[in-house]
Amino acid sequence: MTTINAEGVHYKKLNEDIHQSLATGERQIELTNVRGQRYIGVGLDAGVDITIQGIPGNDLAAFMNGARIEVNGNVQDGVSNTMNAGKVIVHGDAGDILCYAMRGGKVFIQGDVGYRSGIHMKAYQENFPVLVIGGVAGDYLGEYMAGGVIVLLNLTDDPKPAGYLLGTGMHGGAIYVRGQIDQTQVGAEVGFDQLSDQEWELVQGLVVEFFGDLSLAPRQFAREEFMKLYPKSRRPYGNLYSY
């Protein structure tokens, strides 16, 4: 385990230090006093484990390729932007455009998330991105979503677990919400349903993993507490750009 003190270090230097440490064969890195440094964990492969004390900057874990990042604090905007694989665990809140165009791996946020979380998440063959949110979500959750799943646990039992315009432009994947979402809160493309046996099994598995990774006391939920938001059509623009 190598510890790097990020106090006053510019993001370019900090990321160089991380890469140099990895080049020596180190696989476990702890970053302390992080305050806004961008691009931490960008593109890192499996087997790397980074723990962050503080507030990492924008585009944390962007293009990440299998590494594991755990943050003891809040995170800013653009976390897991176009992430391919790996896991991000955040003991705090997240900012906007969380999991932007994420293509695989798992992101667990203990607290609330900002606007446009899960925007344009997508899945293909074995690549299946998962976002689990412990708190509540801002507007445009799952905007243009094309694949993967978002689970909104609403652990604080907020009567309004999310904002408006949820799933606007959604054409793939699913959002599972614990609590009530009404028709005025979702985009025109979104339908409501109950969770199937298979989906409930998936959600239950993720819940156990989420509580375990975040070291939270386990909770049991009933299937009826959840509702499913899904796209009513698939490939709605399939005929639009047929060259």
């Binding site: 305050r35 806004g36 503080g54 800013q76 606007y115 507007d139 309004k160 408006y164």
Partner: protein
Amino acid sequence: MRLLHRKQFPTSKDISGCAISGMMSEIGAPMSGEAIIRSIANMHDRSNGLGGGFAAYGIYPEMRDRYALHVMYDAIDDKQETERLISRWCTVYGDETIPTRPSALVRHPPILHRYFVNIKPEVMERFCDETEDDAIVDLVMTINNESKGGFVFSSGKNMGVFKGVGFPEDIGEFYRLDEYQAYIWTSHGRFPTNTTGWWGGAHPFSLLDWSVVHNGEISSYGINKRYLDNFGYKCALHTDTEVIAYLFDLLVRKHRLPFEAACLAMAPPFWPQLERLPETRRELARTLRIVYGGALLNGPFSVLVGHSGGMVGFNDRTKLRPMVGARKGDMVYMASEEGAIREVCNDPEVVWHAAGGVPIMAHLKEPEKVIGAEATARLKAHSCKLPAGAWQESPRAGRAAASVQ
């Protein structure tokens, strides 16, 4: 555009957006500019060296009843011409070069001078039932539009704007902001997108004691500019943000709307959202949307507005730019990134991401002690609460409101 205010290009480019940061002591406790410089410097990579600036409230206590005009000049001739105009309108109680610290990182500064003035009684007679504030607005518009190479970039009482072309931390050093004591500081690092980086185009934009720093762009600029033109506000600074400063002056000072109503007029709910509001609130929002259509700000923005009584942070309705709020004791912080807040306050009691179209407001707790009785009465009127009803019923909005109000 003035000769000396020519474009300057950075040596490297890292695509980003502007940075804003503000901090306020709600009990009016003075703070040096050192902390706000550190805060905005944390977001160095959001700007590109083509503009940085600060607004500071409470910095001229000995001159608190005079308007402090900060003026930039291209050349000494421009200074003489503009000073003739200032002397015709104003009694000048003091003037001096704005103190600066020469820096290799701040190139081609204009001549920077400040004047502490009141409008002459005989000039006030021309203004019928208008106030001295109106006369100052008129003077600023006259200088900025008619003077060849002079720009007034700050014109409030007991406050001042300091700005220029450079990275904000370098501009802060250049203006020696560590030597000033203010109870509100706002700051900006610029990444110009639509207009050139020049000294007058740096943020904050300011008129009377309003100052505005802005991340984003106002795509309704043309409509807002024409609307403001009806009321004598002339946009002369080649940058969209200017309209926000003038709109606050028009809506709050002139039309006496509460801050909350002004924000509701500038960033109103979309029509379908408006229909879902409680009735009293709905009627208010509808009326504001109709009456103040020309004041609606479109496009992505996060904005910090400073005034002598407090600080207002607000976003566009769909939250296309970042804004984080935090509080610790009597201190309120608002910034583009949480890292910038943690840089100066590592253990805030509460931190939250703002919701779209929902203002965050911080006010002086005992304004009488800081801004006097008359300004306090105005502040209280502007701070009044609108008819009940959540802004957009968003869960985050509720949490934010609970932690500020």
